[in-house]
């Protein structure tokens, strides 16, 4: 699998910090005249990964489109913390209709722009994992299938956060939420991998699918830029840790996102027309335990005695991802992905 080209990261990078880069290689955020598509002063929790991700996504999209951008937002934390009337954090045209319909509303926006001959204006829709993989899934799949000219961005914090941390279809195995408490023989969310929307999006053979995290912000910007250079339906899935729902320290958001990627639990890749075209390689893989431990939502796995059986199952999911996407250049590519038993109590 071709590895992604090296990008220089802003913060926490093993490569080089912004200050040493040529101006044009620096992130949008380091520029004094960045777009500020979503201004500060909104009401996200401290350390909110979603707010961070949205800022990078929107500012990049606004820059590469020269500000010719219209956005549609699903109900969820991002919508709620950015627009408590009469305040609004948005400097771009922004429309919120419902929880489930952001993709369809965006299809309508794109159709109107096309009918008016204003296709220079681009459309970006965004929502949380619940608004994307669960309740908004039918609308999103329809938007993909019709070939509508929309970039849909999912900010995946792995649960319904805005309603108080309930399980969504994207909640990972054994994670504790308010509807999957850490009690009983199989504590936390059901064994499984969560609904894997990037792969489902790829099955639609749309022009572009990519995953990213808020740890690799330069990578995130590059993917938005690439997505906006294309037409048709495009999908970007961004892992955004949520201190409130994950039970993590606000200052740990970026590090947790990186650990998710480095453990193999969150594969970072790009795909075009249904085929993976590049991956972010993991050269220094960490055991999943290192990623799970700092999160209170997994605390029940580390009691006395620890649930090594369940940790092992999570490790298998990471191993399978590494095999499936050939994430580790030093591990021989595997023909058949690892099978993981998801039977209750297995």
């Amino acid at each position: 699998m071709p590895a992604q080209s090296v990008k220089f990261y802003q913060v926490g990078s093993r490569a080089v910090g912004n200050r040493l880069l040529d101006a044009e290689l620096r992130t949008e955020q380091s520029s004094a005249d960045r777009r500020n598509s979503i201004t500060s002063g909104h009401r996200a929790c401290q350390g909110c990964g979603e707010a961070l991700g949205a800022r990078y996504v929107l500012d990049t999209a606004a820059r590469v489109t020269g500000g010719r951008l219209v956005t549609v937002n699903a109900t969820g934390c991002l919508e709620v913390f950015s627009t408590p009337y009469p305040e609004s954090a948005w400097q771009v045209p922004w429309l919120h209709s419902l929880f489930a319909n952001a993709a369809s509303v965006a299809s309508g926006v794109a159709a109107a722009l096309e009918a008016q001959g204003r296709t220079d204006i681009r459309v970006l829709a965004q929502g949380g994992d619940g608004g994307t993989v669960d309740i908004g899934f039918a609308c999103l799949s329809g938007m993909f299938e019709r070939g509508d000219d929309v970039l849909f961005v999912c900010y995946d914090n792995e649960a319904y956060m805005n309603t108080g941390v309930q399980r969504s279809g994207a909640t990972p195995a054994y994670a504790r939420t308010a509807t999957t408490e850490a009690v009983g023989p199989i504590p936390g969310s059901r064994p499984g991998q969560g609904k894997d929307l990037p792969r489902i999006a790829m099955a639609h053979e749309i022009p572009y699918v990519a995953t990213a995290t808020v740890a690799e912000l330069r990578d995130l910007e590059a993917k938005v830029e690439k997505a906006m250079s294309m037409r048709g339906p495009r999908y970007l899935h961004v892992l955004v840790p949520c201190p409130l729902g994950w039970g993590s320290a606000p200052a740990e958001t970026v590090r947790l996102a990186r650990l998710a990627q480095r453990s193999g639990l969150f594969p970072v890749f790009e795909a075009e027309h249904g085929e993976v075209t590049s991956v972010l390689p993991i050269r220094d893989r960490i055991p999943v335990e290192e990623y799970l431990r700092p999160q209170r939502r997994y605390a029940h796995l580390f009691n006395d005695p620890p649930r090594t059986d369940l940790i092992e199952r999570i490790q298998q999911i990471a191993d399978r991802n590494v095999a499936r996407y050939h994430l580790n250049p030093h591990e021989a590519p595997r023909e058949t992905p690892l099978e993981i038993s998801h039977e209750e109590g297995a």
């Binding site: 913060v11 926490g12 080089v16 910090g17 912004n18 200050r19 500000g67 219209v70 549609v72 937002n73 919508e79 709620v80 627009t83 408590p84 009337y85 009469p86 771009v92 045209p93 922004w94 429309l95 919120h96 209709s97 419902l98 489930a100 319909n101 369809s104 509303v105 299809s107 309508g108 926006v109 159709a111 109107a112 009918a115 008016q116 001959g117 204006i121 039918a138 609308c139 329809g142 299938e145 019709r146 941390v165 504790r176 408490e181 850490a182 009690v183 009983g184 201190p243 039970g247 993590s248 320290a249 740990e252 590090r255 431990r293 700092p294 999160q295 209170r296 939502r297 605390a299 029940h300």
Partner: protein, 451 residues
């Protein structure tokens, strides 16, 4: 020029002359002929500058309609029955956002039991969604109302539903004059949106509004809606002038033989024709057709009914457990007047409303509070008789000294394990809050500091 046309076809041609920019479409009988015709016009290039969007559900149809409308396009869609209910959340949302969408509702019953034929349960269920509702009494009006609907919607920035009885109108062939393009253009100028998504003047639409302002937002929306009757009649007069046909001038309510009438029948939609025929031969009965049902033109209804000694409201829907839906609107319009208002439930699920039955009904000496027209009493009696047998069973089912059901079947009874349940509760209570875990391993030293 009048041509022999199917109602759906006439509606489609009229809508096309209104020059919509976006039409999201989803099939459901009996609405489908309308969007099929429009889709073909777009394909053939006879309807230009229009995107016909084949979406995956009615919920998506109304959602796309919202997006397109707020991007500054004139938007049309059509639905029926289950489809209208399936898009309900977005229907309310369109009104809340002030998106002047026009939608035809080809009225059809709601299941279960599934039934594709006409009644008005669908649009009645959404009568308080913040949309203007116009009900077409015949196919000429159905066509004309669509021109008025776009103008009304755009003038007030409120969405409009044009309700057309399914099959009875949508599938009937009649001589219909589709308003000429020049007339439509004269009545309906290009759409100028009140607020629009535009990078040159960015706005936030659909913000979260709290208790401090929500009431005011709703008050203002209601205020706009209440101005609809006057605006509608002004536009209708303008349209009738342009067409040069005073008889095609629509009104919020239309009376027929009500002067000096003892009884006035209030009705919506296509039953108007039959009713007018009937009252021609029944002494002292008039008809009041309600064309604008939402907002409810209470003053006009009151004025039209003031002289009557008996009101009969013919309803093509039923508020289960309560009675007539339009009846309650009529009753509150008549508040303080001492006049009995009777409900007649008729034509549910496509049952024809025949002239003979109506004539018998209107000449019946005493009319109850709620009457079901042409109810098959034999079926009801038989079923209620069978129910009575089970009633004793139902009464004894909750007696405490009965044996547990499972045991009666020779199986051990299922017992509630209080001990285990308590255990579970205790375990749940002992969970710590979801605050950050204790051990935050720092990044290895030497990591570049945050910018």
């Amino acid at each position: 020029m009048r041509r022999q046309l199917e109602g759906s076809r006439a509606i489609a041609e009229t809508v096309a002359r209104c020059r919509p920019g976006v039409i999201p479409a989803y099939p459901i009988t009996p609405q489908t002929h309308i969007v099929e015709a429009l889709g073909t016009m777009v394909r053939k290039g006879t309807l230009t500058s229009c995107r016909f969007l084949t979406v995956e559900s009615e919920f998506a149809a109304m959602s796309a309609a919202i997006g397109a409308s707020l991007t500054g396009s004139r938007v049309y869609t059509a639905t029926s029955s289950q489809g209208l209910l399936y898009m309900t959340e977005a229907v309310f949302n369109a009104a809340g956002l002030g998106a002047p969408i026009v939608m035809t509702v080809a009225n059809r019953a709601i299941g279960a039991p599934i039934n594709i034929w006409n009644d008005q349960s669908d649009s009645m269920a959404l009568r308080d969604s913040g949309w203007i509702q116009l009900h077409a009494p015949d196919n000429q009006a159905a066509a004309d109302l669509h021109v008025l609907a776009f103008r009304l919607a755009e003038e007030l920035s409120v969405p409009v539903m044009v309700c057309v009885d399914g099959f009875v109108l949508t599938h009937a062939f009649e001589p219909i004059d589709v308003p000429e393009q020049e007339i439509v253009d004269a009545v309906l100028p290009p759409y100028r949106p009140r607020q629009v998504l535009d990078p040159d003047a960015p706005v936030t639409i659909g913000a979260m509004v709290g208790p401090d302002a929500f009431t005011e937002v709703k008050y203002l929306a209601d205020h706009a809606l209440r101005s609809a009757p006057a605006v509608f009649e002004r536009i209708a007069a303008e349209f009738a002038d342009a067409v040069g046909a005073p008889q095609r001038r629509a009104c919020c309510v239309q009376d027929y033989s009500t002067t000096g009438a003892d009884t006035v029948v209030v009705a919506l939609g296509s039953v108007t024709g039959t009713l007018r025929d009937v009252v021609d031969s029944v002494e002292g009965v008039g008809v009041l057709t309600v064309t604008m049902y939402r907002p409810f033109p209470a003053e006009q209804v009151r004025a039209a009914l003031a002289g009557a000694r008996r009101i009969v409201v013919l309803e093509r829907a039923l508020a289960s457990g309560a009675g007539g839906i339009v009846t309650s609107d009529v009753r509150s319009a008549l508040a303080g007047l001492d006049v009995p208002v009777h409900t007649v439930i008729a034509g549910l699920g496509g049952r024809p409303i025949g002239a003979a039955s109506l004539r018998e009904l209107l000449t019946r000496p005493g009319l109850g509070d709620v009457t079901f027209l042409d109810l098959r009493e034999d079926v009801i009696d038989r079923e209620l008789g069978r129910e009575a047998v089970h009633e004793t069973d139902r009464e004894t089912a909750y007696e405490t000294d009965r044996e547990p059901v499972a045991e009666r079947d020779g199986q051990p009874a299922i017992e509630f394990d209080r001990e285990a349940a308590g255990e579970f509760d205790r375990e749940l209570d002992s969970q710590p809050a979801l605050e950050p875990a204790g051990e935050f391993d720092r990044e290895p030293a030497g990591e570049p500091a945050g910018a």
